[in-house]
């Protein structure tokens, strides 16, 4: 029982910190925040009714048994967590070293109090294993990669145990500079709008649940590229398949319809479910602004000829915007390497209008796969000066499709991952980031300036 004997000395040299320390380190494309515990303590089996909440150290040991409890509140994080690390610093005192730094797990109980926990009333260490720390020396930082478990804002309880009878002792939050840390990095500079989504989403399968869970954790405006629900776009299908998954963020979703949404006469299921967020019922095209961006939602399921009402509206809409960056989205892709559905040449007149107005991004679906093209002119030739970058993001949940002949200008393809494509809309550029849903692994990212 070494640890309690040193509580006093450690407590004396420590700096008492009562508030959460948040250090934001913002770089051009990423943000990192360091969180210290809002509570930390340990329990000892040989002092079953004692509380050590204000001690300057915590520890893990198998004999006498010491267990450590840490609580972090992650807040203010926006965007996707690209890295999260639990960092612990060993005491400077001889004897804090060990052949094991313990095993650290998440806990379901986040309601415990730093000054209330004892051996006898300790919360269960019952969650996912974050990792283990091997042998530790005195006065040294150790870290565990917890990216897979710390995915956004929230309160996290973490418990530490050890099977080594030679216990390890770490500085507690009361020490200040060497307090435990949760270092959370995100891929986004706070402030710029996030625009995320996918197409070809909800059917009787379970993959749309995985993509919905992914999108749920990311703040921002959600787009869809159609085929929101299968097979016929009825009100019943929207309630049965779409609403329990992607319906969780319906209040920030701006959809477009696909051919399956349009399989029911009158399309009442689609327009009835989304209401005003889908534009005028029966038209389905509309626009909105996000930051420095003008966003145009188009409808590939109605006439898209140069003389169509939609083309006239698009010309007028684009003439009316002063935003420096323009994105557009619809269902059936103008360019695709998918073998199931080919290039939708019928939408060519709208692509020409977008190109004439210096649009930057086009996002579609229909082929159930991910594909990123280079900057293309309306004929599909690479045009790095005035071209539009086209994406196909049919990865929302419906079964994935094979590829056929790979089209000129196609840069990246994948058909084994479900997920969503996230855009960060900067003042004069955009980042794209394909995020895989649970059970998928493919990623793709990049940045391009607006015209």
């Amino acid at each position: 029982m070494r640890l309690p004997n040193r509580v006093l000395s450690a407590g004396l040299v420590g700096v008492l910190t009562l508030t959460t320390l948040v250090a934001a380190d913002i770089t051009a494309a990423a943000a990192t925040a360091t969180f210290t515990p809002t509570a930390d303590t340990y329990v000892a089996d040989n002092a079953p009714t004692s509380n050590f909440g204000t001690a300057g150290a915590v520890g893990v040991d198998a004999s006498e048994v010491n267990r450590t409890f840490l609580k972090f509140t992650v807040s203010g994080v926006s965007g996707t967590v690209t890295s999260a690390k639990l960092r612990l610093h060993t005491d400077t005192v001889a004897g804090s070293e060990s052949d094991s730094g313990g095993t650290w797990k998440l806990m379901s109980n986040t309601g415990w109090s730093e000054t209330g926990v004892t051996w006898n009333n300790q919360p269960a260490i019952d969650g996912a294993t974050l990792g283990s720390i091997g042998a530790v020396a005195v006065n040294t930082w150790y870290e565990i990669d917890v990216t897979s478990q710390i995915t956004g804002n929230g309160t996290f309880s973490i418990g530490g145990t050890s099977t080594s009878t030679n216990g390890a002792d770490f500085d507690s939050r009361e020490t200040g500079a060497t307090a435990p840390q949760l270092v959370v990095s995100t891929d986004v500079q706070s402030g710029d709008p996030v625009w995320i989504g996918a197409g070809d989403i909800a059917d009787s399968g379970s993959q749309d649940t995985n993509t919905a869970n992914l999108v749920s954790g990311i703040a921002g405006t959600v787009w869809t590229t159609g085929d929101n629900v299968y097979p016929n776009g009825t009100a019943s299908e929207f309630n049965t398949y779409y609403n329990p998954t992607w319906g969780a963020f319906k209040n920030r979703t701006r959809p477009v319809p696909g051919n399956h949404d349009y399989n029911t006469s009158g399309y009442y299921g689609y327009y009835g479910y989304f209401g005003a967020a889908a534009g005028t019922a029966g038209q389905g095209y509309y626009s909105y602004d996000l930051g420095n961006w003008h966003i145009v939602a188009l409808n590939s399921e109605i006439s898209t000829t140069a003389s169509s009402a939609q083309a006239t509206w698009l010309t007028s809409d684009l003439a009316g915007t002063t935003k420096p960056c323009i994105a557009a989205y619809w269902h059936k892709p103008r360019f695709t390497s998918g073998s199931t559905h080919g290039n939708n040449t019928a939408i060519g007149p709208l692509v020409q209008i977008l190109y004439n107005n210096h649009a930057d991004v086009v996002v579609t679906g229909h082929n159930h796969q991910y594909e990123r093209f280079n900057l293309l002119n309306p004929s599909g030739a690479v045009d790095t000066t005035g071209g539009i970058r086209h994406f196909v993001v049919g990865t929302g949940g419906a079964g994935l499709y094979p590829f056929g002949t790979i089209q000129p200008g196609s840069q990246v393809r994948n058909n084994n991952s479900f997920g969503a494509l996230k855009f960060t809309l900067h003042a004069n550029s955009y980042d794209w980031n394909f995020l895989p849903a649970a059970g998928s692994s493919f990623t793709d990212s990049g940045t391009t300036n607006c015209h």
Binding site: S337, S339, T340, H341, G342, N343, T345, G399, Y401, P402, F403, G404, T405, I406, V412, R413, N414, N415, N416, S417, F442
Partner: protein, 322 residues
């Protein structure tokens, strides 16, 4: 090594002065030097006809010495100097023509319109019978709304049968009334009359044996798709739906006709292809990577060994020029 313009692989067989078009050669596919016997056997002698991102070409069996023409096909096969090619329309996506070429890649006869999405294509061993399958609705064999059409062209007579659905089918000896039947994946026997094909009817996938002259088909076995008859005429390579459920994927297998015994081949990835026999010991097939790049693999036909990548970037393989 830069790309070069070369005369076709079979230039030594060409008559002087025949223009065969633009052909690209690229290096690669050198044997890795391993002494694994199955690998050596798989890589063997001879060349393979294949498609390279939709362009007809040939390569050595080890994938080297690729010669790629400008001819567009989405499915191809070759035997005895006859090449079949399902050529996509440049204007109307989803519209195809069946084009027959000779061994010098020159078109013979008149293109035949075959509306639908290219799926399977075979040429009989004599080079006379060309058979094809297209999807006319739906996109895959697991779709509820899938519909296929399978036809035969006799290149000798010029007669075409646009759809096998006009043939009289029997199942277990009983006449079968066709309602929503689908046929796919023909393979012809050496007499250019007997053939094998998959028929999907009433929720079951049957291996059917057909008689072209009699216009009949009868069932032999269930859960046998995309048959491919071996050069020895005694075995059929095929894809077997795992647990009878295509949504679980397909296992590449070989059926011995005399005993109806099925052997699973060493390829454990799901193979959605009509396999091709490169010789009596080797079955070749396409595996598409998740980035859409196709690769032709070969595996021993007796269940032994392991798959070997034969032609990087190639699909729709057929033995060529043997």
């Amino acid at each position: 090594m830069k790309n070069r313009i070369l005369i076709l692989a079979l230039s030594t067989l060409l008559l002087g002065g025949i223009a065969v078009g633009y052909v690209i050669t690229r290096p690669g596919g050198a044997l890795s030097g391993t002494a694994d016997p199955s690998e050596v056997a798989l890589r063997g002698e001879g060349r393979v006809l294949a498609l390279f991102n939709g362009r007809l070409g040939t390569a050595r069996r080890d994938g080297g010495d690729q010669k790629i023409s400008a001819i567009r096909c989405d499915r191809s096969y070759a035997a005895a100097g006859t090449i079949g090619c399902l050529r996509p329309s440049e204007e109307n996506w989803g519209q195809y023509q069946l084009v027959v070429l000779n061994g010098q890649f020159q078109e013979t006869g008149k293109p035949l319109d075959v509306p639908g999405l290219a799926n399977r294509l075979r040429v009989s061993n004599s080079g006379r019978m060309v058979s094809w399958t297209v999807f006319v609705s739906g996109e895959d064999y697991t779709s509820d709304v899938m519909s296929t059409r399978t036809g035969i062209l006799d290149t000798k007579s010029g007669e075409a049968i646009p759809s096998l659905e006009v043939f009289a089918a029997t199942i277990n000896g009983m006449p079968h009334k066709a309602v929503d039947d689908n046929y796919w994946g023909i393979t012809f026997a050496g007499d250019d009359n007997r053939f094998y094909v998959t028929m999907f009817a009433g929720g079951t996938r049957y291996l059917m044996e057909g008689d072209l002259a009699a216009r009949t088909v009868r069932n032999l076995k269930s859960n046998v798709e995309c048959p491919s008859l071996a050069p020895d005429q005694r075995r059929i390579a095929f894809k077997e739906a795992i647990d009878g459920n295509p949504k679980k994927g397909w296992r590449l297998s070989v059926l011995e006709l005399a005993t109806m015994k099925v052997t699973h081949l060493a390829e454990t990835r799901s193979v959605d292809d009509q396999p091709a026999w490169l010789d009596n010991g080797t079955v070749a097939y396409n595996v598409q990577r998740s980035d859409g790049i196709n690769e032709t693999y070969g595996v021993p036909a007796d269940g032994s060994g392991h798959p070997v990548k034969l032609v990087e970037g190639g699909n729709s393989p057929a033995p060529y020029g043997l």
